[in-house]
Subunit: 351 residues, 2 copies
């Protein structure tokens, strides 16, 4: 039912189906150019909780609850939950999902976590070991900012290469049966280290990893970039996407006709002061679960390669002048054979 | 080749084989009652590095290098690496493994990470998606102490329920072909929350999760505790193991004849001042890769259930008075059909 091909790719003979998604974002993301695509738009980042950390947990909980409710699924029907986030020890995930009592694989791949979660979820479903799984990832601007950088109140200046951590999350249901876009193959990334230490330039860290995974995927599956309608990286941002296209070009591969980046799409650069764009696990997670999923349902894009990208560091490692390596995991997704109208409807009906 | 049975269990018709292991520990663990079983015993916790964090990375790197060297395996032959640790954003893993260039699934399950890594590794091998994987986990007393608790120099008093984070790690090679103990089934745990907030009593947090996973495993596989020669939890410690036996007893299951705990075994309680025992991802990882693996090779224990246990919290969540839930993942392992003398030799030859 599934087979390892080439160097790093698993291909599915009975492709797992992404039957449902739910995305939730904060006010800044809702105010951006993608705002209308998100299912739940929270009015503020605190979501009536006592702390930002608690707010992130509550957003995760809400998102999974909505995913279960709208798919008429009980938590007991879900075989596995695969999820991660940026809070230390992925604690937003743990406190956000604990009340669903679903067997959990806790994951950490920095902002590539959505790719890892969808990849392992597809393996569990594609090998017949699970009927239904939920995969997802979350991030929150305020929890990330104070954990990785400065207290928000400090009002630190940001360099032009810096990105804005997305407040939001996306969770998808992957099933053996049902209707929706299908996962045809996944390519699991290796850590790529280009000796970068600049914590203000995550795009430069992640671009080499994205290129490594994309080119390996194309080689493993014997495809060229234009076999995809879209190759969509997670959060390279405006700086990183240019680096990635340039790097691939020097390696003889022209990604430019099909390349998109969730981070570069998330905010209106000219009025939202987000510099190089969006970042965080929740960036590709929320963007795939909303805009990209809708494009697939509508068959506007018939085949996409989702490539969430992560920068591997923590506060101590950067203070100790360690390198920041990157990683990227690719998920190859096809549109359903027919436009699925009732699932498209959900995008207008969502609260 | 693999099948989902009962509520949370995957059973393998062609069981993946644990062909090789390597364990590395610090001086306190080497000085404990299990000291002679570990493959590499570092003379101090800093391992000639500039920081404890770098030391942990170097110990991981050394351990995987030894595992590859002694099994005559090139990194390119390994399909996947599955690993995690306790440093924020599992950064010890990232910096420790990056130079091997192996596709990586980064995991976080607190001290249950070894169970998660071996479980997912067994799935990849058992479904034929990988020929060889490496699974492992790491922890370090000094990095954990200053990250989760107090600066070491502070010399804080410790309660009797507290445990001592193990400096050490264990990595295992899981393969389709070869000789060694086999993984027959795995049971993936759910988060169990007993409303505990006491960060000084992780045994109490993890015991309910251990009992939940063990009882689910026995039910899913239609077995009783004594069908195992040993049920070995990760790091419940002296307090936690008593709670677990008592809880199971109240639920009508007598675990006492077969119950062991890596945390309770790690140190000499009477002279090493470790109170409730060892803890950390590296506790069950190093103990399984050394003592328990050797017992299986010698067929002293013919069937064991390894149940690494984790407490899900971070520094901020405990400061915000959040509950600390637990999780545990079970791996059912059988001894090889014959005593494997050459692999037993390694335990005496190891540097």
């Amino acid at each position: 039912m599934a087979q390892h091909i080439g160097k790093q790719t698993v291909i599915f003979s009975k492709p797992p189906i992404i039957t449902h998604t739910h995305s939730s974002v904060g006010p800044k993301e809702a105010d951006g150019p993608m705002g209308e695509y998100f299912h739940t738009r929270f009015a503020d980042e605190i979501n009536e909780e006592k702390s930002w950390e608690k707010a992130e947990c509550s957003i995760i909980k809400h998102t999974i609850k909505q995913l279960l409710r709208l798919s008429h699924t009980q938590p007991t029907e879900i075989d596995y939950l695969l999820s991660g986030d940026l809070q230390n020890q992925i604690n937003a995930t743990h406190l956000g999902v604990k009340d669903f009592h679903i067997p959990l694989f806790g994951l950490y791949g920095a902002c590539s976590t959505m790719g890892e979660a969808m990849g392992l979820g597809a393996i569990l479903v594609g090998t017949g070991l699970a009927k239904k799984v939920i995969s997802g990832a979350s991030s929150h601007y305020c929890t990330a900012e104070r954990q990785f950088r400065f207290p928000l109140e400090y009002g630190g200046q940001r360099t032009q290469t810096q990105q804005w951590t997305v407040t939001g999350c996306g969770y998808v249901m992957i099933e053996q049966e049902g209707t929706g876009p299908t996962i045809n193959s996944i390519t699991t990334g290796k850590i790529v280290d280009f000796d970068i230490k600049d914590v203000m330039n995550m795009g430069a860290v992640m671009a080499p990893a994205a290129v490594d995974t994309i080119l390996t995927h194309l080689q493993d599956t014997n495809q060229k970039p234009t076999d995809y309608d879209a190759i969509v990286t997670g959060d390279l941002g405006n700086c990183g996407i240019e680096i990635a296209i340039d790097m691939a070009d020097r390696l003889g591969v022209d990604l430019s006709p099909v390349m998109h980046d969730c981070g570069a799409m998330m905010y209106a650069q000219e009025r939202q002061d987000t510099h190089s764009g969006g970042s965080g696990c929740g960036c590709s997670a929320s963007m795939f679960s909303s805009y990209w999923y809708l494009q697939l349902l509508k068959r506007k894009y018939k085949k996409m390669l989702l490539v969430p990208t992560g920068a591997l560091m923590n506060l101590v490692s950067t203070q100790q002048s360690e390198n920041i390596p990157g990683i990227a995991h690719a998920v190859s997704i096809s549109a359903p054979e027919q436009v699925i109208s009732d699932k498209i409807q959900r995008f207008h009906l969502a609260p």
